[in-house]
């Protein structure tokens, strides 16, 4: 039986009978006639469509997060709570109606044309909601937190200063909880007969469904695949969501390995990654935007197998492996062997990524041995951009000599790729001028990158090789990134 999609909308329980693959933005504007939420791009990049979303979580930690309604499907709302700019406007702050962010933005001259404004209000309300709910009550909002929250919201008019100021002003206010009316966990099959979303709760169920419906679309966060729907290029009869599969939501860690379940989002992975690899954590903070990171999964990033995906170079350099599962069997595959060709990977029909294993190597092994990990993303814009080149370096040192090296690049070939020649050039040597030159030559010899709108082949080749220089300067303690100033 196909059930209607049940969720909380601005604090009221609603049941929507609609195609599961309809975008939330379309539904809000055309069905619910809530037209405060805008479409600026329909590709997840401008933030005008931002809404606040809280999804049920078997791990029991859920909070409102800003998300892009233009690439979110109605089926994904099942069991969730949604707040739009209209819902925020209905809140009360003292004697006035509206969320503190709305009042502060109104007073601060934070809107000009106003078209980006509802999305910005949502993004900032999400930030302040997390902030006021955070256990770390002393944590005061830094400007960087605001930039993190706004990385997915473009404003063409204001130059942002009055928006950032309004966020600071609102942060000092008492903020009421966002309107919510929890509706319980999703039904198994929701939407309409012509377009359903299936919500398996266990791995076995998921694998069985995949075997049964070989034509179904497998969906994690949808931040890659749902772009086809947003651009009216695809319509899906049956979508299978990994989101509620308990096993896939796990994050676990022991002395040797960090395991990320396949339905773990970038946002959820971030604190665990930050513990071990601060440089990787910095990369994740630049990955898409808050909106994208709260939906997009690490596994989805690998399964998409884009040559410019940001997860792959870091995970290749760290020596990650994948646990793959199908209704027949499970197997473990080193990530090294996963990417086969342009957007082709080693997944077999009916097989999914179950988890990602990242080996842990302490950064200070002992007096003489230490490890270093760096990943550098080069793009035209610092925030929410796709890499022109992404280079990851995992080195082990004995004294001043390189005792182990794994180096990988994105944006340099048809797949994310390791550069063993460069690693070999470093082995057994100190990171001096001659070694660096040898490694750079190895990179130049390995890759024949292409030219596109993000950069020419010549730029990619030169910048990728120069990252070895950067690494050496970085490890010597020099400030090497413009954003660090």
């Amino acid at each position: 039986m196909t059930e209607p999609i049940r969720f909380s909308l601005n604090g009221c329980a609603v049941e929507a009978r609609c195609r599961a693959d309809m975008t939330v933005l379309e539904w809000l504007r055309l069905e619910a006639l809530l037209r405060g939420t805008k479409e600026g791009c329909a590709e997840g990049d401008c933030g005008a469509c931002s809404v606040l979303l809280k999804r049920p979580d078997p791990r029991g930690r859920s909070a409102f997060q800003a998300a892009n309604s233009c690439i979110m499907l109605m089926g994904q709302l099942d069991g969730a709570s949604l707040v739009t700019v209209e819902g925020l406007a209905a809140m009360r702050t003292g004697a006035q109606s509206g969320h503190p962010v709305q009042l502060a933005m109104e007073e601060n001259g934070s809107s000009q044309c106003g078209f980006c404004t509802p999305g910005i209000v949502s993004a900032l309300a999400g930030l302040l909601d997390r902030q006021s709910g955070s256990e770390d009550a002393d944590h005061t909002l830094a400007e960087d937190d605001i930039h993190d929250a706004l990385a997915g919201n473009l404003c063409r008019c204001t130059g942002y200063r009055p928006i950032v100021e309004a966020a600071c002003a609102a942060a000092s206010q008492q903020i009421a909880p966002l309107p919510d009316h929890p509706v319980g966990s999703p039904n198994a099959v929701t939407g309409e007969d012509s377009s359903q979303m299936l919500h398996p709760a266990t791995l076995d169920e998921l694998l069985a469904l995949l075997r049964q419906h070989t034509d179904a679309t497998l969906l994690a966060g949808g931040t890659d695949i749902s772009l086809d729907v947003a651009h009216a290029r695809a319509r899906w009869e049956r979508v299978i969501s990994t989101r509620n599969v308990t096993e896939l939501r796990n994050i676990s860690e022991n002395a040797d390995v960090l395991t990320l379940g396949a339905a773990v989002t970038w946002q959820e992975a971030l604190p665990f990654v930050a513990e071990h690899w601060p440089s990787f954590a910095t990369l994740i903070r630049r990955f898409g935007s808050t909106q994208i990171r709260s939906m997009g999964t690490v596994a989805g990033n690998l399964a998409t197998s884009s040559p410019i995906g940001d997860g792959a170079p870091a995970l290749l350099a760290l020596g990650a492996s994948l646990r793959l599962a199908s209704s027949q069997d499970e197997r473990t595959l080193p990530l090294d062997d996963f990417f086969l060709d342009y957007r082709k990977n080693a997944l077999r029909p009916g097989e999914i990524i179950k988890a990602i294993h990242i080996p842990l190597t302490g950064s200070e092994l002992d007096e003489r041995r230490h490890a270093a990990f760096r990943v550098y993303k080069l793009s035209k814009r610092y925030d929410q951009d796709i890499s022109t080149v992404c280079g990851a370096f995992s080195l082990a040192f004995e004294g001043d000599r390189v005792a182990g090296a794994r180096i990988a690049f994105g944006g340099m070939a048809a797949t994310p790729m390791r550069c063993t020649a460069a690693a070999d050039a470093l082995l057994g040597k100190p990171l001096d001028g001659a070694t660096i030159s040898a490694a750079k030559a190895a990179i130049a010899g390995t890759f024949k990158p292409m030219s596109d709108m993000r950069g020419s082949a010549a730029y990619r080749a030169m910048a990728a090789a120069n990252l070895v220089d950067r690494l050496a300067h970085d490890l010597s303690g020099e400030t090497v990134e413009v954003m660090a100033l």
């Binding site: 600026g40 406007a89 550098y376 300067h473 954003m483």
Partner: protein, 791 residues
């Protein structure tokens, strides 16, 4: 004498102490913006039977249309109609100036993204799906994508423009020093957050009402009428607000609105045409990229003796507004510098790319980038600081104060006593602590690290008025109702710049009533006719003054009644705080309005304004095109990464002359927003075409405008105080929409400075715009090669 305009307003009224004008008032729609209650065109409720449009775009850059097969599209789900050029009842003509641009391609296509047809369907999704099913069979012809190539081939969209004074060739040859060079700069997408949208409602007897997200309702009206083969009175065009425009909705909105009207005409049903972002970016024009060649003669002090420039504008496939854009480039090539012998050629290169159009600054920024690059190159060649070269050339008593086109720069005693150019420059260098910064940066760079810093100052002089004198007119319609509330309509359009707020302030000021008692209403060709585009920063100058005239006229009539009522002289009566006061007696403004009605006095007036003093001869390129100049200056500090080319602006200080600002908080917003937008143009925003001429940066995932973290962490903006406009503008204010965009050239100059620092500032950086990481890295590599041992 200008017979059209009302008797000139008494100057003292404009100089009077003000209560509402000159104070901070947030945007009139702010409370609705933040709550999602501001209604944009796509938010308007649908009438039953509303249809949706999607364009069919050419995927070939240049070719002959052999056949258009739309059978599949016609049969596609939900499709009501597929419209081609042959379905146009009137003229297939959308060009704003020359008759060279069709609404729908006919016989040939001249760029990828050109609109060939329009699918009309019950939903937008159905229209989009069907549009992909139209097969356009095209015989490909050789395309041209580059302005320099078009110049070689002498392929242009309109006649060359030539601005000349003296004998540049001779002056260059006679000068002690000479440099030649070339600077290239890319175009820019407007990236208004609201893509082009229109909604057309067919009426009875061939009437058509079009809601259009347009800066130019009159142009939409005129072209819709031509398209439908009716006269203008059949068409009413309205716009309450746009979700950003920046020039991108000056002529381009007409295309979308016209097609929506065509669909409504053909189907007899209301039709909505909202462009998807990718279609919008492929099919509508952008800022002109330019290649600028120069030949300059100067002396050892850096004083320019003669300058020859070839400014090759990337016009695109048709002229659109390229003519006036080039005129503004040529009239802003001087920026703040006196150039005695000038020879500026403007060439409109015909290329097989989308036709470029108006964009904040309108050619001015490109001219200024060029002259500043020239100053920079001169400075490096002389081993001097660029500031010295600027100082040697500023307009002033020692150099000269007449522009190459014959307009005197200074007004009244500005030159002798209160040079506005000097004011902004002195103020900004002192605010920025220029010398201290220079020293710190030298010390930082002396560490020879991976990161290097740069510093630069950018002065701006920008001419206010449309170059074409005719366009400098504004209109307004004001009604006072019997309860004293006021209905305001004017010929300008609101795109976020706060024009409605400013004009409402003017009206509230005249009547002495609270701002909230003035109702702002949608721009409407049926209320104020024959308007100019809201462009050229002129919105509040023209429409504010027109509204001032309308309100003043009504007030004069009301004053008569008040005199009678109080039995007093006009000078004894004051309109303030919603009251009409005479000594210790008063009545409310509403009561007075009621009295006027009872006495059968009209409480409605139209106001008109035509900018005085200006004239321009487009053929000789001489005259006084600008009513006045505004001034500004910025100092920017940047850092570059010499390994990757990544770069960032660390601090900026700005001083901007807004005259006596009508609304400082709104002007501040314009300054900050324009600066960041300009910074985007010159750094991260890159339009990229593939070898087939397909623009591949058609969405925010590939076209990167600045985000919040890109805003310089130190961002100080000061409005120059106590500088009432010496000309009689509305309350002595100055225009602010465009000028601050050019302040961002400071960032680009500072990046060149950082690259040049690798040669000890001996060599000029070979850095074009936009200064993407790639261009910066290549400029660094080039500098290292040329500077050799210096590093």
């Amino acid at each position: 004498m200008n017979i059209q305009s009302k008797p000139p307003v008494a100057a003292q009224k404009l100089d009077a102490e003000t209560r509402i004008v000159g104070h901070d008032h947030v945007h009139d729609s702010a409370s609705r913006h933040v709550r999602g209650q501001a209604v944009y065109i796509d938010d308007m409720p649908d009438l039953p039977g509303t249809l949706h449009c999607a364009p069919v775009l050419s995927n070939v850059a240049h070719g002959k249309i052999l056949n258009i097969d739309f059978d599949k599209a016609r049969a596609s789900e939900g499709v009501v109609d597929v419209l081609l050029a042959s379905d146009i009842p009137g003229k297939n003509e959308v060009a704003p100036i020359f008759a060279d641009e069709p609404f729908l391609a006919e016989g040939k296509v001249e760029h990828v993204g050109q609109i060939v047809g329009l699918v009309v369907a019950d939903t937008l999704a159905h229209a989009l799906q069907a549009a992909r099913k139209v097969v356009v069979d095209i015989e490909e012809l050789t395309p041209c994508f580059d302005e320099a190539e078009a110049f070689e081939a002498q392929s242009r969209t309109l006649p060359d423009q030539h601005l000349k004074r003296g004998d540049a060739q001779q002056a260059i040859e006679a000068a002690a020093r000479r440099l030649t060079g070339r600077v290239k700069m890319g175009g820019q997408d407007h990236f208004y957050l609201e893509a082009h949208t229109a909604h057309a409602f067919p009426g009875e007897a061939g009437d058509m009402t079009v809601w259009s997200s347009t800066q130019h309702p009159t142009e939409v009206q005129v072209h819709v009428a031509m398209l439908l083969g009716v006269k203008s009175h059949k068409v009413d065009v309205k716009c309450r607000r746009m979700g950003g425009a920046f020039g991108g909705k000056e002529s381009q909105a007409t295309i979308i609105a016209g097609l929506a009207a065509l669909a409504a005409h053909a189907t007899g049903q209301p039709c909505r045409f909202r462009m998807r972002r990718d279609d919008d970016m492929a099919a509508t024009g952008k800022r002109h990229g330019y290649t600028i060649n120069y030949d300059v003669g100067f002396d050892e002090t850096g004083r320019i003796h003669g300058l020859k420039v070839e400014a090759l504008a990337h016009s695109g496939h048709v002229a659109d507004l390229t003519g006036p854009v080039i005129a503004r480039t040529l009239t802003h090539l001087d920026n703040c510098y006196h150039i005695e012998h000038a020879d500026f050629l403007g060439f409109a290169a015909k290329t097989n790319t989308v036709s470029n159009t108006a964009f904040r600054g309108f050619g001015g920024p490109q001219g200024m980038v060029a002259i500043e690059a020239i100053i920079d190159d001169i400075a490096r060649s002389l081993g001097r600081d660029a500031q010295d070269i600027r100082a040697a050339n500023y307009y002033g008593a020692e150099t000269g104060s007449e522009t190459p086109y014959g307009q005197s720069v200074f007004v009244g005693d500005e030159l002798a006593h209160d040079n506005p150019l000097r004011n902004v420059i002195e103020r900004v260098t002192s605010n920025a602590r220029w010398d201290e910064k220079r020293t710190q940066i030298e010390a930082f760079n002396a560490k020879r690290g991976v990161l290097r810093k740069g510093l630069a100052m950018m002065p701006v002089k920008f001419g206010i008025s449309f170059n074409l004198t005719t366009l400098n007119q504004g209109g307004a319609l004001v009604h006072v109702y019997m309860d004293g509330s006021v209905h305001l309509n004017h010929g300008g359009t609101e795109m976020g710049q706060g024009l409605n707020t400013k004009v409402a302030q003017v009206v509230a000021e005249v009547f002495g009533i609270p701002l909230g008692d003035v109702q702002i209403t949608p721009s409407d060709t049926g209320k104020v006719p024959n308007t100019s585009a809201t462009a050229a920063s002129s919105g509040s100058d023209l429409n504010g003054m027109a509204a001032f005239n309308a309100a003043s006229e009504i007030k004069a009539r009301m004053l008569d009644v008040a005199c009678e009522h109080f039995d007093a002289m006009p000078s004894d009566i004051d309109f303030r705080d919603g009251q009409v006061v005479c000594g210790d007696r008063s009545i409310s403004f509403g009561t007075l309005a009621k009295y006027c009605w009872m006495k059968r006095i009209s409480l409605s007036a139209e106001g008109f304004y035509a900018t005085p003093k200006i004239h321009w001869d487009g053929k000789t390129m001489k005259g006084r095109p600008f009513f006045y100049f505004t001034y500004g200056a910025a100092v920017a500090e940047v850092v570059i990464d010499t390994l990757t080319g990544e770069n960032r602006c660390l601090s900026v200080d700005i001083v901007q002359d807004c005259g006596k600002s009508l609304n400082p908080v709104i002007d501040l917003g314009q300054i900050e927003g324009a600066f960041v937008q300009g910074m985007g143009w010159l750094t991260c925003e890159e339009l990229w075409w593939d070898e087939k001429g397909r623009l591949r940066t058609v969405g925010p995932s590939t076209y990167k405008i600045p985000g919040s973290r890109d805003v310089p962490p130190v961002f100080n903006v000061e409005l120059l105080e106590n500088r009432p406009n010496p000309e009689e503008t509305v309350y002595r204010s100055k225009a602010v929409g465009e000028p601050p965009l050019m302040l961002s050239i400071a960032v680009w100059l500072a990046l060149r400075d950082a690259v040049s620092s690798l040669s000890g500032h001996r060599l000029a950086a070979a850095l074009d715009a936009p200064a993407t990481p790639e261009r910066v890295l290549f400029a660094v590599e080039d500098m290292k090669e040329r500077a050799g041992e210096l590093i």
